[in-house]
Amino acid sequence: MTVERMRSTVLTEFPHIQSAHCESGVVSNLLRHRGIDISEAMAFGVGGGLFFGYLPFIRLNGLPLVTYRSAPGSILNRFAEIPGIDMCQEKFRSRKKAMEKLDVLLDDGIPVGLQTGVFWLPYFPRALRFHFNAHNLVVYGKEGNEYLISDPVFPEPVRCPADDLVRARFASGALAPKGKMYYLTSVVKRFERSSLIVNGIKGVSRMMLDRPFPLIGVKGIRFLAGRLEKWPKRLGSGAADLHLGHVVRMQEEIGTGGGGFRFMYAAFLQESGKEMEEQSLGDCAALLTEAGDRWREFAVMAARVCKGRGRPGDTYRAMAEKIRECGLLEEKVFRQLQSWLKERL
């Protein structure tokens, strides 16, 4: 499909800062463009980005969905709800209209956030081009038939031909973006951050501890451990290794910031602790870093098994134990955070 060209060059000044996760990176960069200095980790925490869910009834390439973060779009929605931030979010049926609206906004000097499918983005390294449809990026300009893109996981701004961007915006399958775009319409200059931080922590703690559903939160971590232990017997060793590799991929792939987002959340807790002068948040951060380290130890062990170079102790049972340790540590972190929240009331 060819997209009609408006002006040949449209360029908005946009502060591209590389980040570890796309959605929090986009939110932080969009706010920075409006003069609000907010780190990626802070955006992630305030947006309640941390989560755990093992959802075997949703399949990605035939493998069960394991997620270490909240649903795509939820950080954005949280920010859109904050009083003082006006964010416009739109979806489209028509490809032509979606691109026309993008061009109009760029013409007005407004950088626009887009949800896209990674598979169709030509600037992505080949090895990362899977059908993942919840990748966020910011378009801040257009030159000829190419869009100038601030993709938060890349070190420098990138370029993407219009035809490819259309495909990426209208990718099909799970989490189809349907041309979703979002942009800030007005933002107040100052925020009372502590209440935002408290709300963010409250939401995540509730998700991790208080949901009755056994597949999410700390319960979900234990559930995964139980299932993982049985994979070799239930699926056979080949399929079990594929499942195992998938769990690690979801945990460590680009965009997670490492350790299944645990390190990023720890960074948020540290920053919040400093800002609010609360030592207990710093303590929780240290504990969560430890949980992240356990996740990494699990990943290292799993990678050895997947490679067929497992050491004597590298069994599925040992890996399940590691995951249970993560569960235990995370339960401790969020119990402490909940009691901190109660003390504040």
């Binding site: 980790a41 090895a127 990362l128 059908h131 590799g245 490492g258 720890a266 380290d293």
Partner: protein, 147 residues
């Protein structure tokens, strides 16, 4: 994760420098630029090996005349009949039928064009059964099995 563990590996992400959170000596998390972590490379490679294995199976099936070349294009582009049906705006059972050489050989030019657009390949390749590389792998043709 400790800072010294950010090993450099140019394998999976073609040397893309990413940033991730790393705890320093004081325990403070900071964003550090580095390459993709080794275990990620391993599991990512594993995922691609599985895709390549499936492509291999698909090619054998095509050579044996069991499936049409559409099966190769679908597999190589990491799709299944459901996703391909969504992309081409058809029902799933139609796509399933097109997997059979008998039905594929009788496709109308409009339908072939739809497939060609999704796979970003000339329609003639599909008609002649040529297996051109998937969307993420532009380059020379791999093999020609127009028989």
């Amino acid at each position: 994760m400790d800072e010294e563990k950010t090993a450099v590996d140019r394998g999976v992400a073609a040397g893309l420098k990413i940033v991730s959170y790393v705890a320093g000596d004081d325990g403070g998390q900071r964003l550090v630029s580095g390459s993709v972590w080794q275990p990620v490379n391993t599991v990512n490679r594993q995922a691609w090996q599985e895709i390549e294995r499936q492509i291999g199976i698909s090619k054998k099936k095509i050579a044996a005349g069991k499936v049409s070349c559409l099966h190769y294009y679908m597999t190589a582009n990491q799709m299944n009949t459901r996703l391909l049906a969504r992309y081409t705006g058809q029902s799933r059972w139609r796509v399933r039928l097109h997997i059979f050489p008998f039905f594929f050989a009788r496709l109308g030019s409009d339908t072939v064009r739809k497939y060609a657009e999704v796979f970003q390949t000339p329609a003639i390749d599909l008609i002649q059964g040529r297996l051109s590389p998937p969307v993420y792998d532009s380059g020379a043709y791999e093999i020609n099995c127009a028989d």
